[in-house]
């Protein structure tokens, strides 16, 4: 399986040879209770530039929640349920099977159909037909993987989502956006000065970030639809740490214009700044809870940096973390139940998760310099920045800490990942 996956990576790499600085993914560790599944080649899929079944298989494998069964030797390939040899797959302990077919339509487009089969029950549990252009192979495959993932795990799939991150190459910084599997990277912004803290608007059409192009941190909002960007917080002093409100209408930002780093709310167009902390200490890294009612943030008001929570309109703050002397960068899962943050333990910086109800904590990562956690929109994976051989790299870990992935780019420093939202269609 490992070899099969490697060869998929190679294929992807070859297929995208034109895209420079391609992210490649390596998985370590495996999840518990993986679902054994076979993804068969789709009948007729060789008419496409890439095999849909390869992309679906790689997506499911990467999630860590499936055990992929070798399905490359099935001949003849079934396109319909009646053609499947269920006895054979039962003997191989498969729980599920994906079959499909691709046909070229009269207008030059293609139709790809797939069926998800329950092997023990010998029935179909899902199926969709997609009409696609030759350029929509990967998009279609990710959609199929999303359906399979949701039917079998009960959680929404994130294979169709996108990620943003910053690549540093020499003295050049690029804000890039890629598919969740790291393929198809495109540059949204290139600069000679640093770019940090990208944050997706809830509808996935805009990114807020901090750029140092004016020799100081300034917060911008960048439309991915028009390519237009606007400085939304450019006050005297530093402007940083943008976080979107859940309705996408406001940003929480950190400004030093009135002395010290304090949290303010501004309109997404930069209008009407209102201060919501008044501590005389450092207050930074605001993050809206998914219900929009409260803001988690980092403050050193207790003598060292810890995570606090306050109402989204400001006011009294309650301390959330107590263990250790450096707990920063709070992020909350979409169900509001889990806090992930960066903790310093001795000289090590690692990500920890914290169950907000039971107050149980867990160390998630094992690097020396891990930082910048970002939840997948389904809350099942956390993307973060790590260092390998003194160079920045991205990694992901499952929310239970069992599955780990490393995403790296040749000869470049990659940092500041942000996982984008679900796209509703």
């Amino acid at each position: 399986m490992r070899f099969a996956f490697r060869s998929i990576l190679l294929l992807l790499a070859l297929a995208c040879a034109t895209a420079q600085a391609q992210l490649s993914i390596e998985i370590t560790g495996g999840g518990a209770n993986q679902i054994p599944i076979g993804v068969l080649r789709f009948v007729g899929e060789e008419a496409l530039a890439q095999r849909i079944s390869d992309i679906v298989e790689a997506d499911l494998q990467r999630s860590g929640r499936f055990r992929m069964l070798f399905a490359g030797n099935v001949d003849p390939l079934p396109a319909e349920v009646a053609q499947v040899n269920f006895g054979d797959w039962k003997n191989r302990n498969a729980d599920a099977l994906v079959i499909g077919s691709v046909v070229r339509l009269a207008d030059g487009r293609f139709e790809a159909r797939f069926r998800l089969l329950d092997v023990p029950k010998q029935t179909q549990i899902g199926g969709v037909a997609f009409t696609l252009s030759a350029q929509q192979v990967r998009t279609t495959a990710h959609r199929i993987a999303d359906v399979v993932y949701e039917k079998l795990t009960g959680d929404r799939g994130v294979f169709s989502t996108r990620i943003a991150y910053v690549v540093k190459q020499g003295s050049r910084y690029e804000l890039q956006i890629a598919d969740a599997d790291g393929v198809g990277a495109q540059t949204a912004l290139a600069s000679r000065e640093p770019i940090i803290s990208p944050a997706w608007s809830p509808d996935g059409t805009r990114l807020a970030y901090v750029s140092f192009e004016n020799k100081k941190p300034v917060v911008y909002v960048h439309s991915l639809v028009s390519g237009q960007r606007q400085a939304v917080a450019n006050f005297k002093g530093s402007n940083s740490a943008p976080a979107w409100s859940t309705d996408g209408k406001q940003l929480a930002v950190v400004l030093s214009k009135d002395g010290g780093s304090q949290i303010y709310l501004i309109g997404a167009d930069g209008s009407n700044p209102r201060r919501i902390t008044n501590s005389g200490s450092i207050d930074t890294e605001p993050f809206f809870a998914p219900d929009g009612q409260s803001i988690y943030f980092t403050s050193d008001r207790g003598g060292n940096p810890q995570i606090y929570r306050m109402s989204a309109s400001g006011g009294e703050a309650a301390r959330v973390t107590f263990d250790g002397s450096y707990n920063v960068s709070p992020r909350v899962s979409s169900d509001g139940k889990t806090l992930v943050y960066l903790a310093r333990d001795g000289g090590r910086f690692q990500l920890k998760s914290f169950d907000l109800a039971s107050k149980q904590g867990q160390v998630l990562t094992d690097g020396q310099h891990d930082e910048s956690p970002s939840f997948a929109p389904n809350g099942k994976m956390i993307l973060y920045a790590t260092q390998i051989n003194n160079r920045g790299s991205l990694a992901a870990v499952s929310s239970d800490g069992r599955v780990k992935q490393r995403l790296s780019v040749q000869a470049a420093d990659v940092r500041e990942p942000a996982w984008g939202p679900f796209f509703n269609n």
Binding site: P194, T205, G420
Partner: protein, 179 residues
């Protein structure tokens, strides 16, 4: 409903899909057209910062034998207080600013690269604010001095060693024309 339709139409446009999915409730498979999660960025925005014009700087600020040519203060780990050894340096710059009311200064606070980038922005800000506060007490005016933070983003030295970290925990004083 109109609004919903408009949103759906916009989404379809963004995704660049030409057809609408057929509804076939009785079919064994549902028909859909794949859409892209996020529209592709329409192009790369490139930022070209304006360069400094340091050649117009008064000689007093450039002469290596003049204390005013010294511009950096260094800090201990996680600390932001100005060490006593830098008081004569700050006094010289405060005197220069009070004697040259048109002169402007940007103080950039910096951190070593351990820990959260955003927390380091706040820590660097605290360092720069401390320098500014002292310059104001010594005679500079609020309108002359801006304190900002570069956090860990512009390290002078990039090895993971204490010798390197200590060079990066720093505030730099830049005069108008140098930034």
């Amino acid at each position: 409903m109109k609004k919903l339709l408009a949103v759906a139409a916009m989404v379809a446009l963004l995704a660049g899909c030409a057809s609408t999915p057929k509804e076939e409730p009785k079919a064994a498979v549902e028909d859909r057209t794949p859409t892209t999660a996020v529209p592709a960025p329409p192009g790369v925005s490139t930022v070209t910062p304006v360069g400094p014009k340091a050649d117009q700087l008064p000689n007093a600020l450039k002469d290596p034998n003049n204390i005013l040519s010294k511009r950096s203060l260094y800090y201990d780990y996680d600390k932001y207080d100005v060490k006593d050894e830098y008081k004569p340096l700050l006094q010289a710059h405060a005197r220069y600013l009070s004697q040259n009311r048109n002169a402007k200064m940007l103080i950039q606070g910096n951190c070593d690269e351990r820990g959260s980038r955003e927390y380091n922005i706040a820590l660097g800000q605290k360092r720069a604010d401390g320098v500014k506060k002292m310059l104001l007490l010594m005679g500079a005016q609020e309108s002359q001095v801006e304190s900002v933070s570069l956090g860990e983003e512009k390290p002078r030295c990039t090895d993971n060693t204490e010798a390197c970290y200590s060079q990066n925990r720093r505030s730099d004083m830049l005069y108008g024309g140098e930034y």
